[in-house]
């Protein structure tokens, strides 16, 4: 595998409704396991994934919290959350179960531009 590059994985869907979140996290974990520097960005409805108490869905959908718990083990520590998306959903960073860095929308273009690759889920 080549030298590590920064890979940005953008998560924009809430858990349960679709497999976007889970399949996006899978890409992040595999990339990290292969030695890449992965940054996660929770944007829009994606911030719902970080809400405390999210469980497996009542319809048998696998929850995403167990996957999020594995991030540290895979050395994925750069977890950013769009502050406006949080605020719009009545959430604060203090309520989230994971150590995240809130970012304002003006820094997002730079984040996308400086990442070697971007995956949108």
């Amino acid at each position: 595998m080549d030298d590590p590059q920064t890979m940005l994985v953008v998560l924009r869907h809430a858990p349960h409704d679709s497999s976007w979140l889970r399949e996006g996290l899978d890409v992040a974990l595999v990339a990290a396991a292969l030695g890449q520097d992965v940054t996660l960005l929770f944007l829009g409805d994606g911030v719902e994934a970080l809400r405390s108490g999210q469980q497996a869905g009542p319809l048998g959908q696998k929850g995403s919290h167990t996957t999020l718990d594995m991030l540290a083990m895979y050395d994925i520590e750069d977890i950013r959350v769009d502050a406006a998306s949080l605020a719009a959903r009545g959430l604060t960073v203090a309520e989230l179960d994971w150590p995240v860095t809130p970012v304002t929308s003006d820094v997002l273009p730079g984040l996308f531009a400086t990442s070697a690759s971007v995956f949108n889920f």
Binding site: D2, Q5, S19, W20, E23, A31, F121
Partner: protein, 130 residues
């Protein structure tokens, strides 16, 4: 340049496959190389050999095959995303005790590591999502 495409939209459900194929032909016409197409999320349905669209619609599955034949493009399908959606090749079908299979070469079931590898080794990786 060396290009890779990521297709995440299902055929005939969304525009993603049509757009990806148009882009594929355009970049080949411009003299670039399309080395890899990676099918993920609902994009894995593009790999079904059993699709039988009406004759007055483009046959997306055949279009991917022609691309592989003419350009030597690797058609990679995420095995985890495929299996949970009922997409399987002969080997996986046997392994899981299934009575049939719908994925054949040049489509190839593979892991997400191949997608990460493509992002590192290709000059451009362009995603087509629904």
């Amino acid at each position: 340049m060396r290009y890779g495409l990521v297709v995440m939209g299902g055929p005939y459900s969304h525009q993603a496959s049509h757009s990806a194929l148009r882009f594929a032909h355009a970049l080949v016409d411009r003299g670039h190389r399309l080395e890899t197409v990676f099918f993920y999320h609902d994009g894995v349905y593009n790999a079904s050999r059993l699709a039988a669209p009406p004759q007055d619609e483009p046959h997306l599955g055949d279009a991917w095959l022609r691309l592989a034949e003419s350009q030597g493009t690797a058609l990679l399908v995420c095995v985890a995303a495929a299996l949970r959606r009922g997409m399987t090749d002969e080997r996986e079908a046997r392994r899981h005790g299934k009575p049939a299979y719908n994925v054949e070469p040049p489509f190839e079931l593979t892991g997400l590591g191949q997608l990460v590898e493509a992002s590192l080794t290709h000059d451009r990786l362009v995603t087509f999502s629904p």
